[in-house]
Amino acid sequence: MTIRLEPRVQPPGWLSAAITFAAVGVALVISGVIIAVVGGDPVRSYIHILNAAFGSIGVLSDTLVKATPLLLTGLACALAFRMRLWNIGAEGQFLLGAWGASAVVLAPILPPGTPGFIVIPTMMLAGAAAGGIWGLIPGVLRARLGVNEIITTLMLNYVALFWVQFWVFGPWSEGGFQQTAAFPPEAFLPRLTDFASSVPAFDGLTVQLGLVFGLVAAGIVWLFLERSRWGYEIRLAGDSQRAARYAGVDIARNVIVVFAISGALAGLAGMSEVSGVVHRLQDRISPGYGFTAIIIAYLARFDPFKVIVASVLFGALILAGREIQPSGVPAMIQGIILFSLIVAEVFVRYRVRIERSVAAA
């Protein structure tokens, strides 16, 4: 008996969706078995995740708060991956973005008392710029010197972590704690709960404007990728470098531009997190958003709109997973989901034939 993989010419659309869902399902079953093996109760864990993430309008709002940085970093990864550029550095770009945005009020770049309609856009620019520059470094190294971007982006994640730690432990430390002073209210992104006085139903809902940034960014990335000449070049280069080169695409330039934009999106995520959620810069502002973003981009098959859905799911996992013991479970589930997605991909791309080796005529 032999197993053969035959490439499908045109995988039907429904198949891809069905197999993706099946893959996530299988991953949850495997994770459940492992949770049971180490002495946990998988059913209770999953019910807990569902309740703690979607059980009420309040927790749903918290899920969306967690989904916001995932959405922006997920878009950052999806854009880069579409061109087959492995930007594993969204985590570092996120941190640099958070740092850049914080610098606006802490350095300070703008004098205290500057009105919010100036502070917020400046923070957005500073965050996106800082993240963009952090993305530009591996982009330039890859485009000009052919340096493997996986290693450089990963190493720069660690550098970014120490960079932020330097500022929160050193120059910007508040009384020796591992955090800076709180931002002034002008530097806060508005939350739904801030409007509770006029709409009582919004009371306690922490969803903040950053989510809108993410949704708008998803639309813009989609427009660029699918409806512009530049997006066509990116997709062409992603599918076949050789074809793109014959078509006259300037690959080196596109690599640099994609890395810069990817970094800027992740940087904006960092800005949204410090300005809309934490309201200060501190050590460990990210529980690995930039890494989860890689799985999100892959789950969404690099489609910006599917990134929205995937980031809500992983937002739920991160939010509700905090209370699950042992503490490594959410990370483990993420790894298993990614693995089963890769295996699922095989069933989308190939038809699996099992043949009895009867007639070798």
């Binding site: 180490v38 340096v147 120490f162 730690q165 993420q334 790894g335």
Partner: protein, 322 residues
Amino acid sequence: MDFSLILAAGIATGTALLFAAVGEIFAERAGVMNLGVEGMMLMGAVAGFSTAVSTGNPWLGVVLAMLTGGIISLLHAVVAIHLRADQVVSGLALTFLGSGLARVFGEGLSNAGATALLPRLTIPLLSEVPIAGKIFFLDQSVLVYVGYLLVPLAWFWINRTRPGLHLRAVGESPAAADAQGIGVYRLRYAYVFVGGLLAGLAGATITLAVSPGWFGEQTTNGRGWIAVGLVIFAQWSPLRAAFGAYLFGTISRFIIDVQGVDTILGTTNPFQAGRSATFFLEMVPYLLVVLVVVIGSREAARKRVGAPAALGTPYVRGERGA
């Protein structure tokens, strides 16, 4: 500071990097890129440490660490070799999975306290050699000596033996190797597995010899990735990998030691532990990897020695490579 002591400690620290890098060289020479080194190291680290804690036998820990690394690497092997999936994503998945699983199984291990560690040895005669003796052969963990043996053996195996020739053929030109009757899939599985064994050993080297204990993901703290970077710097040669690993080991030891002194050249030490400038010091190894990978890529381009030609591409009999 006694520099021979720092160097000796650096060699020990570098041994973990060495095992992981040589393992990755074997896998990549066979044409399979495995970015899951960090995950396999963490699995090896936790398996080795928990076995040693529960049985009191560190040798059993080493064996289990290697087996764990090897077995988990097969997951990547199946996905990358038989299922022809993207090796980058699969390797990343292995790192996520390995770190997550290691944290799940390592729950509570950080308070396990002291355990029996691997023995340390002083080589008679050799340790008497001026300077080098104190660095390489005085009171080092037994695994450090395993590292000394592994490097020339790996080099000899790859470059001077018949199985090594087959290994290189499979990585450079799988179709030609297949035509010669060499089992491409079989060899690729074998060398990915060897890479896993060595990554597991690297993990155990940390938890059972160099810096004992389980500290979650901080146990490896990116050293698996540094090893992957070293492979590029080493241009897939075990000898250069050894140089890189010991160099990085020494630098990371030096960084720890610098934080412990009060004054440097008569002035207050700005990098003393607790001062914020230490964070710049902590960046150094990671920035160096970037530098080293840039140098490696430049040199490889100039000398036209590059990655194994079939690195990262699945082999399908009868199909032309994409």
